[in-house]
Symmetry: none
Subunit: 319 residues, 2 copies
């Protein structure tokens, strides 16, 4: 009887949460958690699987026989560029809960701007009871850049709430019920967008894409007179200095950022205290580590029962 291959866990996450999630995970299979000092000198040869997020520099040389690498996150930009990454299938983390959580965050941010939450909070500080001009969702067009699983889920929910929603993806992916644009249609897409929601993966094409040049092409015809930028995707896609300048000079009416070029956000960042900006510490779609291990377990079961792996990353495209 063949023994099941162990699973290597090398996740630079909160170790308490990882340990809790590992209880009962991968039944019948040894789990080698590299965060444990006891695993430091463990022989990793002959092992098929590794689940990684910011793994140790020597992982791939120590574990020379991996058959599959599982990314610990939905975004794989940190993984595809790892030195020594073997030429085996790289599987992304796909989780229904992650999609739902991202949509919660996106919708809350759209509503915070629409309903002028910060202005009402400022009035509250001064004990001022006053109604502000309040446009409805139907007066806002939300343009979503990145119209894959996350973008489409957010789109459907925003639409149910009464927002107008349009989508953009490099390929111009067609989605029933939505006006979508491709690379060539970017100008048209931006010109119609009052609230820009960024859900793009980070690739060489999207690095720094959210910059002043792009912000100036957004609609200024919306009820707030200037657009809002909401980024739940990747910090590397945005140019922080451009966002700050655009908020300050009125190119942008406001922003919501869950991701940053440098995380944790440096203490000296102006975002900590800027008006008309909401920030969250990369928690928009934080998914539970338990769900990650269930996903990895399902994929290993598929492979070992002769079915193809799902959610394999296209390394050429970078996502």
């Amino acid at each position: 009887m063949q023994t099941k291959s162990p699973v290597i866990i090398d996740l630079k996450f909160d170790q308490e949460k990882v340990a809790a999630a590992l209880k009962g995970a991968f039944p019948g299979r040894e789990v080698i958690n590299l965060s444990h000092p006891a695993s430091r000198n463990r022989d990793l040869s002959g092992i098929d699987y590794a689940v990684v997020w910011r793994p140790g520099a020597d992982l791939f040389s120590r574990a020379g026989d991996l058959k599959v690498v599982f990314s610990g996150g939905a975004g794989v930009d940190h993984v595809v560029t790892l030195p020594g990454l073997p030429d085996v299938p790289l599987v992304r983390f796909v989780d229904a809960m992650l999609t739902t959580r991202m949509s919660e965050w996106v919708i809350m941010q759209c509503l915070l701007h629409l309903r002028q939450h910060q202005a009402y909070e400022a009035q509250r500080q001064k004990r001022v009871w006053r109604e502000l001009v309040q446009p409805g969702a139907s007066e806002i067009t939300v343009g979503i850049m990145g119209f894959g699983v996350l973008g489409q889920d957010a789109a459907a929910k925003l639409k149910a709430l009464g927002f107008n929603v349009i989508g953009w993806s490099k390929s111009g992916r067609k989605v029933e019920g939505f006006e979508t644009h491709d690379e060539k249609g970017l100008g048209t897409f931006l010109g119609r967008t009052d609230f820009l929601v960024g859900l793009l993966p980070l690739t060489p094409d999207t690095r720094g894409i959210y910059n002043t040049g792009l912000f100036t092409r957004l609609s200024r015809k919306g009820p707030f007179g200037a657009p809002v930028f909401i980024n739940g995707g990747r910090g590397g896609s945005q140019v922080a200095a451009d966002i700050v300048a655009s908020i300050n000079d009125g190119t942008l009416h406001g922003a919501s950022l869950d991701v940053f070029e440098q995380e944790p956000l440096p203490l000296e960042s102006p975002f900590w205290s800027m008006d008309r900006v909401f920030i969250t510490p990369h928690v928009a779609a934080a998914s539970d580590v338990g769900a990650l291990f269930r996903h990895v377990g399902r994929q290993i079961d598929r492979l070992e029962s002769g079915k193809p792996l799902e959610h394999i990353v296209d390394r050429g495209a970078g996502y």
Copy 2:
């Protein structure tokens, strides 16, 4: 060529908002805003239209040739009783937006509590980058008291976002796709409810219904360990002192209030500065003055192109 009749505006609303909404409204037509001192001695004879809310006592004697009077509010009880109201069509303000706006507010409040917005804002004040334990919408049951047009619209949208939703109305109104309860089922309904959303009309039965006795019957099994109370209905249905005490002793985890027993909220109210409480100045479903002017414009266009006016008040019935 005939000149289009001017429109008289006599609205005791926030004048900044009226002025903002009037920009671009009624194209090709003179607008006489009686809140402007310059209009004080303006001759109003020969003018066809007036849009009114608590108009000046002399309006109808000065404007003796009105052909239509437009109410500035959805309710017309303040208008039908006006002394000197001419015997011409009186048109109410009908606005589908009002339902949509209430759902926007309800959903934003549910998300603010779910996603611990206030806790993240407090961390931001201290420049702390830290993920909090974050339950998902699917771990929360929202119980809506008042399951009519507003309640059902909010319910459908909350459900789309992943919340569990149950409804309560005095009659136990059945609604496809939702578990609903009636008067006798109140205990069961409350015992399952993590976030209580109040959308009840104010009647002798509902006055003071949201009190400590009711709050203690809500579920404490939800992920926050105590329930949240969200009132978008009527201030008279809640007992402010009970909400304050319930927040302070942990009976309630948090609250969102758009309505109050006394409005504007008195300066000495603790709600202005309480943690875990969001307040807004009775604006959850306020319909926007811009929508009013668009509605009036559409009705004038209908009339002038030979079509019948819509939404004419039955003065005998009083609505």
